[in-house]
């Protein structure tokens, strides 16, 4: 696929449709992949990469890129397209300044999980019949089941559908995928409150406030974040105490509620492996249950459940009374 993408990008550069390309760039190691902008065919040939580790959601970069002169080519995976669509709804990206080629995504791998299988010194990974062939410096080749090493966000993929594009690389669009992404939330909901508290204290107290989750999140794209703003009253740039989430993570999840497309980047980038997506999914699950199913970024709908209402909405007390064990 990498070659087809490079070929198509070169065509589009050449015929003047775009003047630069948003993609992923090779690093020192095969799994060391970063989003990057390419200006020439040479650069593309040299550094453009598409492999099992190009998981990064590039939609957020387009906020700044589409404000620049000229037109940029963006390759969007299904989950990236939801984020991009949501940013369009929020008037954050200029659709005219981007040419979107939708690319399929059959799931991205988590390096940590591969390492956990005891495989180190990886030099190459190729796909074969749904499995991954991992080659190491020792010239060994390991066959790994894709599913076993999927990123969390890919394991619980909600959709293979690209919701906004100018063309599709494969000419065909994917479909929504049945998933169990709320199971884990339900599991926590079912815990007794003390256990829930202990669970979250355990998870969140590891936070080192590196801000990776915030910086990667397409919804966290404020001109100035309240946590960086001395006037907001909640400015705080370092972990406040053991139970860091006292403010930061709850507020962050709340600020993106209704806008979060569940792209899963926050958990992917967290160096402390805090399952941050479970906070966002809790809001999504609640909104679905209380206000009807809603998927941010799926349509042009600009009013999401938090900026909408019905006069017969449930009262807040429902939180304390609705069913479920452990409640």
């Amino acid at each position: 696929m990498q070659d087809r993408m490079i070929a198509r990008a070169k065509e589009l550069l050449e015929n003047g449709t775009v003047d630069r390309v948003m993609g992923w760039k090779k690093g020192e190691f095969i799994y060391d992949v970063t989003p990057a902008v390419f200006y020439t065919a040479d650069e593309l040939e040299k550094d453009f990469v598409m492999n099992a580790f190009t998981a990064a959601n590039v939609s957020k970069y387009l906020i700044a890129e589409t404000k620049k002169p000229g037109r940029i080519l963006a390759f969007l995976k299904p989950c990236d397209s939801y984020s991009f669509r949501q940013l369009m709804n929020e008037h954050r990206v200029d659709r005219d300044n981007v040419y979107i080629v939708g690319i399929p995504s059959w799931g991205k791998a988590d390096m940590e999980k591969i390492r956990a299988l005891g495989i180190t010194g990886i030099t190459d990974i190729t796909e074969k019949d749904g499995d991954l062939l991992v080659t190491t410096v020792m010239r060994e080749t390991h066959a790994v089941k894709k599913y076993d090493v999927y990123l969390e966000k890919c394991k619980n993929c909600k959709s293979k559908r690209i919701v906004v594009y100018d063309e599709l690389l494969d000419g065909e669009n994917g479909e929504d995928v049945p998933n169990n992404r709320f199971d884990e939330v339900a599991k926590i909901e079912a815990m007794p409150p003390d256990e829930r508290f202990a669970f979250w204290r355990g998870e969140l107290s590891r936070c080192i406030r590196c801000n990776a989750c915030r910086n990667v999140c397409p919804a966290c794209s404020c001109e100035k974040c309240v946590f960086d703003n001395p006037k907001s009253g909640v400015e705080n740039k370092a972990p406040a105490d053991d139970f860091e989430e006292n403010l930061f993570h709850i507020i962050r999840a709340y600020h993106v509620a209704g806008r979060c497309t569940d792209c899963g980047e926050c958990s992917r980038v967290c160096p402390q492996h805090i399952p941050l997506h479970l906070l966002n999914r809790k809001f999504i699950k609640d909104m679905n249950e209380l206000y009807g199913d809603y998927q941010a970024g799926e349509t042009e709908q600009v009013r999401h459940p938090v900026t909408n209402y019905r006069d017969d909405d449930a009262e807040p007390g429902i939180v304390y009374t609705r069913g479920g064990s452990g409640r």
Partner: protein, 147 residues
């Protein structure tokens, strides 16, 4: 950590919308309906002015309970403010519950300007709930305590 000498008294912050609930609180006063002094009211124009940040901030600074009062649904002075507040608070309360914070530390009540009695009763019952839950330890950021 500060050693407390006094017996614990609950600290309760009540956000009241200016048009209905604050007036309801006034009426409770006019009718001399008692409720505990632990309740401290902050006046906001509408329940939709209550940012979840304020509630988290209150807890962080040691509040034991936070109650948000607004006009009855359908009677908002601004037509729809309390409807937004209702969704926001529902989601916030649900999240706090999810994090294992004790149920009942937060509440929303609709109190009209005519419901002085209801205001007093609501505050009495809320204080009772908070007393039964005891001190808010889970959300309090101890470093924020001065003195």
């Amino acid at each position: 950590m500060q050693v407390r000498n006094e017996p614990w008294k609950p600290l309760i912050v009540a956000f009241c919308c200016n048009w209905c609930s604050y007036a309801g609180a006034d009426l409770a006063g006019t009718n001399r309906l008692n409720y505990p002094a632990d309740v401290k009211i902050i006046r906001v124009p509408c329940s939709c002015r209550v940012n979840p940040l304020f509630i988290l901030r209150a807890f962080q600074r040691g509040a034991d309970g936070v109650i948000v009062c607004g006009c009855h649904p359908g009677d908002c002075h601004y037509t729809s403010g309390n409807y937004y507040a209702r969704r926001r608070m529902t989601l916030l309360f649900s999240m706090l519950d999810y994090l294992g914070i004790e149920k009942g530390r937060t509440r929303v009540e609709w109190v009209s300007a005519a419901e002085g009695q209801k205001f007093a009763e609501t505050m009495n019952s809320f204080v009772e709930t908070i007393v039964s839950l005891g001190e808010n330890k889970r959300l309090e950021d101890l470093r924020c305590k001065t003195e």
